[in-house]
Symmetry: C2
Subunit: 158 residues, 2 copies
C-alpha cells in the first residue's frame, strides 16, 4: 500500500489551485450535462454521444470496437448501452458477413431523428456551461491543454 519511494512530488500553490478548480469541473460538468440531457431528452449523455458519433459515420454505421474508441468508453459499457438502444429501436446490431468476429452498430431512422431532436438543447447547454464563460483566446488554450491531457490519458488505456 505504501510505496517505498522518497518524498512524493507535492503540488505547489499554483498547481494546487489549478487542480482544485479542474477537479471541481470534472466532478460537476458531467453531472450537469447528464441531467440536462435526461430532463430534456430522456437519454444519457453517453447514449447521446454514441448516437451522435454514429450519425456522422459513413452509412451511419460503425464497428463496436471503433465506436468504443471514439466515445472514450470501454467495450463492455458500449455493449450494454447498445443493448439498451436496441430496445428503443434507435440502433441495430448487424453482423459482418466477411468477418465473423466484428459487430456493426447502425443508427436507425428513428435514432437519427432522436439525435437531431436532442442536439439543439444540448449545444445550448454546452454553450452556457462552457463557451459563454470564455473568450476567444481561452478557447484555443482550452483546446491545447485538453488535447495534451487527452493524449496521456489515451495511451494509458490502450
Amino acid at each position: 500500500m505504501a510505496e517505498r519511494l522518497p518524498e512524493p512530488r507535492w503540488l505547489d500553490d499554483e498547481e494546487m489551485g489549478a487542480w482544485l478548480a479542474l477537479n471541481g469541473v470534472i466532478l460537476l460538468l458531467p453531472g450537469a450535462l447528464d441531467s440536462q440531457m435526461q430532463r430534456d431528452n430522456g437519454i444519457t449523455m453517453f447514449e447521446y454521444l454514441v448516437m451522435a458519433m454514429l450519425s456522422e459515420a459513413p452509412g451511419r454505421t460503425l464497428q463496436l470496437k471503433r465506436l468504443a474508441r471514439v466515445t472514450n468508453g470501454s467495450l463492455s459499457r458500449l455493449s450494454h448501452v447498445v443493448t439498451r438502444l436496441e430496445g428503443r429501436d434507435w440502433v441495430r446490431r448487424e453482423p459482418l458477413a466477411d468477418n465473423g468476429r466484428v459487430t456493426m452498430a447502425r443508427l436507425t431512422d428513428a435514432g437519427y431523428a432522436k439525435v437531431v431532436a436532442s442536439a439543439p438543447s444540448h449545444v445550448e447547454t454546452v454553450r452556457q456551461l462552457v463557451f459563454d464563460n470564455l473568450d476567444r483566446r481561452q478557447v484555443r488554450q482550452l483546446q491545447e491543454i485538453s488535447t495534451r491531457l487527452l493524449r496521456s490519458l489515451a495511451d494509458d488505456c490502450d
Copy 2:
C-alpha cells in the same frame, strides 16, 4: 422535447475542437483517477475526497451539509458514502447537542492514517496525468479557465 426556439447557436470549428477534447478529458480523467485509487488504496476517489476534506477541517469534523458542498456532491450521495466509511471505522457520525437536526462527520484516527497513506500515490497520479503534460504558463491558464467554468457550474446547483 423540441424547443420552439430559432436556430441554435451552433459551435464553430475552434469551439468544436475544444469541446471534443474537453469532453474526452471529463470522460476519461475521473475514471483514470478512480481506478488508480481503487487499485492502490482500495477506496473510491470520492471517498478519498471526503476524508481529505475532513482531515483538513478543524477538529477533523464537519457538518454533513457543509461536507457535501466542499466535495461538490449531493447530500444523499454523501449520506451513503459516510455510511460505508463508518462501516470501515474511518468516519463516525456525531449528533450535535444544541441542534438536533444537524449531523457531524468526524474522521477517526484510522481514517486519518488512511488519508495520509493514500495521498502520495494520488498526488503522483495527478502529476503524471495532468501537470507533467503542461508548462508553467498552461498551469495558470488552466486555473483561470477552470475557475470560470466552475463559477457557472456552482450557481447552477445552489
